[in-house]
């Protein structure tokens, strides 16, 4: 964590700002309107990167959880917790942007399309994870339980994907993209990745500080 700190504290915020501004400019000024859907399609440039971040969050949670179960280091545990919270944030964004897009294009705020359903279920898994941390308190036992949930959650994804896909389907698939669109998507993805990393870092740092405060408090209590 220490090695990464100077970069994350000094460069990452600016990098996020810069790429996010470029992304906004690209989405609103540079990229042309999509032929069929018109302006509403532009939200897709935020929607898709947010969806990727949702999955990224899940894999970080699972990886960190596995590492925590096997090695028991505090850092993996904090990383899993931070990634779950940030991942849940992006998952919420996916649902909101998707809903805003679906209203003019499909005529409804919500429909039981497989990918929508899937993201909604992923959201509830994230929610269960975060609630476990909140409701059950913070100790080594709960950390281990959360890690189990993180791993089982990621194992559930492929089978969930198959089940929901067989269940029904109307989600648009992207077939070919104009080069301007591909570039815009790339910039947006970069911006969202930076944002993800930065938020993750901030949350990780605050969890770490919480840890230190708790340790100091214990120390003060025992000495007095």
């Amino acid at each position: 964590m220490k090695k990464f700190a100077p970069f994350a504290d000094n460069i990452l915020p600016w990098l996020t700002c810069l790429t996010m501004l470029t992304a906004l400019a690209a989405v609103f000024l540079y990229v042309p309107n999509e032929q069929v859907q018109g302006a509403p399609q532009r939200i897709f440039y935020f929607h898709l990167p947010a969806a990727w971040n949702t999955f990224l969050g899940f894999f970080i949670v699972a990886g960190a959880s596995a590492s925590y179960l096997w090695q028991g280091d505090r850092f993996s545990d904090l990383l899993a917790q931070a990634a779950a919270e940030v991942g849940m944030l992006f998952c919420t964004l996916v649902l909101i942007t998707g809903s805003i897009w679906a209203r003019p294009i499909w005529g409804v705020w919500w429909t039981w399309d497989p990918r929508l359903t899937m993201v909604a279920i992923l959201w509830t898994i994230y929610a269960a994870y975060v609630l476990l941390r909140v409701l059950a308190g913070d100790n080594e036992l709960i950390a281990r339980y959360a890690a189990v949930l993180g791993i089982v959650g990621v194992l559930d994804i492929p089978i969930l994907y198959v089940a929901v896909r067989l269940w029904r389907g109307i989600h648009p698939k992207v077939e070919r993209m104009a080069p301007e669109m591909a570039w815009t998507l790339l910039v947006c993805t970069g911006a969202f990745l930076c944002l993800f990393a930065w938020l993750l870092w901030l949350r990780l740092r605050s969890l770490k500080l919480q840890d230190e405060i708790a340790a100091l408090r214990r120390e003060a209590l025992t000495s007095s």
Partner: protein
């Protein structure tokens, strides 16, 4: 492992608490659904299938809440873990216990519900026990794992369904699809059975492997 399973079974034989309360609860859920929907609406094959599985999920949740409760209240879980066997054996015993109790309850509740819902008899219904068993196995595998987790936390009544239900969605979809087709007597594709089977295999193995991490002191 058989000794552990036998302990739970004998406990149940003496008190008959779990199976009897489960049975009444399952029946009540079916009744509540029928009242909420009106008998005519509740009689379609699709609705009946959904009803059967929702009943099983909620009644099963209650059974899981109790699975580790006795050990937890008396502090016997630590005692069990001190015994010289692999913790995963305990998982298998508890898992089989859950499968056994749920199967017993479903053996009575399912025919009764089908009767109440006015489902027509057909030979296709003979495949129903297999589907139910596959569903119960998957449910119990994940359920046993998370019951062991939530029994030692605060707010355990809320946390168990909260963690379990989202993960059970694929199982629920597949089971309801197959059951609906069986009840309606229509064609159904084997792919749903494969989804059920995959779910069972993945989570029995995962539970078995990861359980030691859960109960470690």
């Amino acid at each position: 492992m058989w000794a552990l399973l036998w302990k739970d079974v004998r406990l149940e034989l003496r008190t008959k608490e779990r199976v009897s309360s489960l049975f009444v609860l399952a029946l009540l859920i079916v009744l509540v659904f029928v009242f909420a929907l009106s008998p005519e609406q509740a009689q379609g094959a699709e609705v009946s299938a959904a009803l059967l599985w929702v009943t099983l999920l909620f009644a099963g949740m209650l059974s899981l809440q109790r699975a580790f409760l006795i050990e937890q209240e008396r502090g016997c879980l630590s005692g069990l873990l001190l015994c010289p066997f692999d913790p995963s054996t305990l998982f298998l015993a508890k898992f089989l216990g859950n499968v056994l109790f749920l199967t017993l309850v479903e053996l009575v509740v399912t025919p009764l519900s089908l009767l109440l819902l006015g489902v027509q008899w057909s030979w296709a219904l003979l495949a129903l026990p297999l589907v139910l068993l596959l569903g119960i196995v998957g449910f119990s595998a994940l359920g046993t794992l998370f019951a062991a987790i939530t029994v030692r936390t605060r707010a355990r009544e809320v946390l168990l369904p909260l963690m379990l239900l989202p993960l059970l969605v694929p199982l629920l979809i597949a089971a309801v699809k197959v059951t609906g087709a069986l009840l309606a007597g229509t064609e159904w594709s084997g792919v749903w059975l494969r989804v059920l089977l995959a779910f069972d295999v993945i989570f029995v193995v995962t539970g078995w492997l990861i359980f030691a991490q859960v109960v470690r002191e």
